[in-house]
Symmetry: C2
Subunit: 192 residues, 2 copies
């Protein structure tokens, strides 16, 4: 009974903070376990329809064995972009990646700082001029010119503290970093 | 019958090239229709589990009415990153967004250039040192240090032509641009 209560007390926002702090300590003691490699395997199906399979990853000096099955993600384009709406389009997936990462980061930050969150939601929008991606003009970039995120959150802390949690969450988010600052991408092509 | 044959001839790689060229002409004639706004609405569920709903978007000077229903995307983290594997993690979603965009872009380029593709697949990997995202050290960035994409494709063209198609596909991909070069992200926070 005592053990159950102790365990319940370490779980905040659905995050086991005891495990979180133990993980941080383990990485500090043995930094080589901090190297992670994530992967996606994509297959073209036809037109704008393609599917990624996401399963294996490398963490803590070994290939992961905890993930029981693969996730399948279907991409597409709406009719106006010549697809048949077989899934969100790639730019929408990028917005989701950003929303998900900022949300998880701020939830973890809140858990570590003893802030109990009641609700978190976000609205993201990105604007592009498709003359870039469609190859009509070099005056427009291919991607979004800007992304806006509106995050609404509540919890047992002051508005100032909640804002700090968001600020720190963004500052530590892997996808926020990548989308804001860019990442070198190496392309290797294999032909018959 | 003649009409059917004509139509079949305009469809290449599952892309209706007659519609594609008509779309390009329409945008050239009326550039204001080239502004698109894509969106994601994200809701925190608990711990590392959150869900994006993707439905509405703005295109061709109006809110879209073609997309019949919303797409729901669940994100999560594996146990080693304190989640319960409720979905791919945000960094994996970013890899999928990149794979999907490069694939669709090169498929469209091939369709426009009369290259019939037989198969396209890709393997993506990104490496990160999680000491950045976990806030242990500022010496490591939060996101991937590098992303590698290995694209394997075949079709009725020479290896040189297929490589050109990939090169042009990457150069015109919205997500390739965003992930390579970064995008300004504006964050607005709403508290009670």
């Amino acid at each position: 009974m005592t053990q159950m209560i102790d365990r319940a007390e370490t779980i905040r926002n659905g995050v086991d903070t005891a495990t979180m702090f133990a993980t941080l300590d383990a990485i500090k003691a043995q930094p080589e376990i901090a190297t992670f490699r994530f992967r996606a395997h994509n297959q073209w199906i036809g037109g704008a329809h393609n599917r990624s399979t996401i399963h294996d990853f490398y963490a803590a000096c070994a290939e992961d064995t905890s993930r029981q099955s693969a996730f399948a993600l279907d991409a597409g384009e709406p009719a106006i972009l010549l697809g048949t709406d077989t899934g969100p389009n790639p730019a929408e997936y990028l917005l989701h990646a950003l929303a998900a990462c900022v949300t998880t980061s701020l939830v973890y930050v809140a858990a570590a700082r003893r802030v109990k969150l009641a609700a978190v939601s976000s609205e993201l929008e990105g604007e592009m001029d498709v003359r870039g991606a469609l190859g009509i003009s070099d005056d427009y970039r291919n991607g979004f010119t800007k992304i806006t995120i509106k995050i609404t959150l509540s919890g047992d802390a002051s508005p100032e503290k909640l804002r700090e949690v968001v600020e720190r969450g963004c500052r530590r988010s892997a996808v926020f970093d990548m989308v804001s600052n860019g990442v070198p991408v190496d392309v290797d092509v294999v032909t018959p």
